[in-house]
């Protein structure tokens, strides 16, 4: 029985972790995989750390949340602290290198820690708007649960109406996806 890949994505509200998780979930579902995605939610309306729990496998998924993740992606200092609980020696922990002074907080028990400069690249090289798509690229490369083609198709499905109005957006998003994959490749 193949175990599902367990992914926890965490960031500040507005960093788009939930939409990234949802697009990946839909892409994997389109591939015919068993997928379960659930956001954390509470009574806070603003200012909380947002966590997305995503599981992708070949057999029906068990419980919606999990104790330890195969991949954790944390995009802010608070997200790093919040998601340490999902880490064990098998976990690949991905964080953004522009988070200041976070080195001390990184989970020392992680199987592997990958720092990627996604925030920096989105600002200097691409566009801050596609930051979460870089993260999406990083996640699909780190987990290898969805192919780049299917990820592109999922983006097309989700953002196609915007791409129609402005074809440059398509290029920008696809470039961000590829760049995110590259970052993980290099960090390995």
């Amino acid at each position: 029985m193949g175990k599902a890949v367990k992914i926890a994505l965490a960031g500040e509200g507005g960093q788009g972790v939930q939409s990234v998780a949802q697009i990946i979930a839909e892409a994997a579902n389109e591939e015919g995989r068993e997928v379960l995605y659930i956001p954390n939610f509470g009574v806070e309306q603003r200012g909380g750390v947002s966590v997305a729990f995503l599981q992708i496998g070949t057999d029906p998924i068990g419980s919606p949340k999990f104790q330890k993740a195969d991949i954790v992606v944390a995009l802010s200092d608070r997200a790093v602290i919040r998601t340490r609980q999902y880490v064990d020696e098998k976990t690949t922990f991905v964080y953004d290198t522009s988070i200041e002074g976070v080195e001390e907080e990184l989970p020392k028990n992680a199987g592997r820690i990958l720092g990627i400069p996604a925030i920096e690249i989105s600002k200097n090289e691409l566009n801050p708007r596609v930051f979460n798509i870089i993260i999406m690229g990083a996640v699909i490369k780190a987990t290898e649960v969805v192919s780049e083609d299917d990820a592109r198709a999922a983006l097309e499905k989700k953002l196609g109406y915007k791409f129609e109005q402005n074809p440059e957006l398509r290029e920008l998003n696809f470039k961000a996806l590829a760049r995110g994959m590259e970052l993980v490749e290099k960090a390995r």
């Binding site: 029985m1 949802q22 979930a25 839909e26 579902n29 068993e34 997928v35 379960l36 995605y37 659930i38 956001p39 954390n40 939610f41 509470g42 009574v43 029906p60 998924i61 068990g62 419980s63 919606p64 949340k65 999990f66 104790q67």
Partner: protein, 366 residues
């Protein structure tokens, strides 16, 4: 507008709340009455988006007491009506649903459990089992289906309408915040295309005269004497117990030779299933038992399992609410009972595996 909401079969990927709205449409529900409360809000959000396209209606009331009573009013007027709620809203819903029990008004209520008591969390629990099964000031004359995945949420929401109208007991679909908010795939379909026949609704009040004579309809929730009430309740209980075997549903596997049987319901049974499959692969004699109907409870079915097993491990996201139903059902059995109670939080297969191994180890040490 008269087109069917669902043509043929369709594989979809959506949240549980959206699933419920589609299922109510598929079941030909005509109106939803409701009051917002997390985590079930999106049922009414999706319903209000979808329903007008098919000539269906929605009324937001001032609270859950009113949502429950207006649902019953809609049913009395001959409409296929339903409502949905959670947590403290479920507490208020018990008053109108008690009236439904007393007056035998068919009604469908979807519950997405959240943490309790009181406001607690808006997220998840299995702490509304006692209230949903026996919450009214009466004998629990109702049906409760506990679902575990989106396919079941769709199937049992449709089924609930038929159960309610066939037997005239209020019928609950008991989900939870996880099922409400998570996304997974399922197949939605038109039930009639699959050969399912809907039990017709009827107008209880304001019926047309027969041969020019108006027939009085007498639905009571008030009785003058103890004896009068006793007679009615005795008759209702007899009817309930008679139809219970037709309504009862459960799932089990690997129980034939099992030493330990994991008993769980709802979303927790997903983790239990994975745990039992893994432990079986390791060669341990473990079984799986899951009541789908919590009321009426599959007592005879569980008794048979308890007679063969050494231990039942009761697992739930509450502090023993399902366990009470189990103990009542298997009274007289000498099977050992162990538990994994985690009120208000989710339970993973890993935790169940650890607990089973602890019990195994303890048994060996003896």
């Amino acid at each position: 507008m008269a087109e069917k909401p669902i043509q043929g079969e369709k594989r979809v990927f959506m949240t549980g709340n959206e699933v419920v709205a589609w299922a109510a449409l598929a079941a030909k529900a005509e109106i939803m009455y409701g009051y917002p409360i997390t985590p079930q809000n999106e049922i009414m959000h999706y319903w209000t988006r979808l329903a007008p396209k098919f000539g269906k209606r929605f009324l937001q009331t001032e609270d859950e007491l009113s949502a429950g009573f207006t649902t019953l009013g809609g049913v009395l007027a001959g409409r296929k009506a339903f409502t949905a709620t959670a947590g403290p809203g479920n507490t208020l819903m018990q008053e109108p649903m008690s009236m439904a029990e007393m007056m035998r008004i068919p009604s469908v209520v979807i519950i997405q459990q959240r943490g309790g008591p009181s406001t607690a969390t808006v997220i998840y629990s299995q702490q509304e089992v006692t209230m949903t099964t026996y919450g009214g000031n009466g004998e629990g004359l109702r049906v409760v289906y506990s679902t575990a995945n989106h396919q079941e949420l769709f199937d049992y929401t449709i089924k609930a309408f038929n159960t309610a109208w066939k037997y005239r007991f209020p019928t609950f679909v008991l989900g939870d915040g996880y099922q409400a908010k998570m996304r997974e795939s399922l197949t939605i379909y038109d039930p009639e295309e699959k050969g399912l026949e809907f039990v017709p609704t009827e107008t209880f009040l304001g019926k047309a005269p027969v041969n020019g004579v108006k027939q009085p309809v007498h639905l009571r929730n008030t009785y003058n004497t103890e004896e009068e009430l006793y007679e009615v309740i005795t008759r209702y209980m007899e009817e309930y117990l008679k139809v219970a075997p037709e309504i009862i549903e459960h799932r089990e596997f690997s129980c034939e030779d099992a030493d330990i049987v994991v008993v769980s319901h709802g979303v927790v049974s997903r983790a239990a299933k994975v745990a039992v499959q893994e432990l079986r692969e390791e060669g341990l004699k473990i079984g799986y038992f899951r009541p789908v109907t919590l009321r009426p409870f599959p007592a005879e079915e569980l008794k048979k399992v308890a007679a063969r097993a050494k231990t039942l491990l009761l697992v739930e996201s509450a502090f023993g609410q399902m366990a009470k139903l189990v103990k009542d059902a298997i009274f007289g059995s000498t099977v050992a009972l162990e538990n994994l109670f985690k009120p208000g939080v989710g339970i993973t297969s890993e935790e169940i595996v650890v607990r089973v191994k602890e019990i195994e180890k303890g048994a060996l040490a003896k």
